[in-house]
Symmetry: C2
Subunit: 117 residues, 2 copies
């Protein structure tokens, strides 16, 4: 049985929500490739550094990136685990759809068989 604790659902909410903004998706892209400082990220987008900082915080809360300080810089690194969870969730939904498709195909072949009798 699939367990859906409220806590787990909220975590999933945060992951999908974090990915629902193009700037944040790009930050994930950049930081999965290699670590970037917050100010480096700030130079990539036409918004204030504060806005970028907030986007990074949303991603940290969703565990899609992690931060660690190095001198005066805060380095951001993309993390894979929650992406995998989201991936699995989508897999589950697609499996449901395939099951529906198969039932539909069964009915169709039944009908075809009867028609050819």
């Amino acid at each position: 049985m699939v367990v859906k604790s409220r806590e787990r659902e909220k975590k999933t909410d945060r992951v999908f929500f974090a990915l629902s903004d193009a700037t944040r998706r790009d930050i994930v892209t950049q930081t999965l490739d290699r670590e970037r400082s917050v100010s480096e990220l700030g130079r990539l987008y036409p918004i204030s550094l504060t806005a970028v900082q907030k986007h990074v915080e949303v991603l940290v809360d969703a565990r899609l990136v992690s931060k660690h300080r190095s001198g005066r810089e805060q380095l951001v690194r993309g993390e894979i685990e929650q992406l995998r969870r989201a991936h699995q969730l989508l897999d589950g939904l697609e499996a449901l759809w395939r099951a529906r498709l198969e039932r539909f195909e069964d009915v169709l072949s039944e009908t075809t068989r009867r028609e050819s009798e």
Copy 2:
């Protein structure tokens, strides 16, 4: 080259945003399995029917479900295409991460080779 039109990005925003709410994810689950009327969905959750209607609208805008009228009922059906797009986007991100991992492993094996010399 990956083309990122603003229109496409907004579409992606809507898909991930629609999936960032547990009730909406459940509606997708239910309607991928089989069609459900809006009122039928309304009975599944501890919120008003109006709230459920709004959730369905968000999902329709994201093209994660479609609606068609049958008599007085509005039937909702889960759609697979946008789920697949989201799936592919996650695949792309995971591929980036794997590339980073491989570069890291290369450096590591270089180091190991030198150490054993």
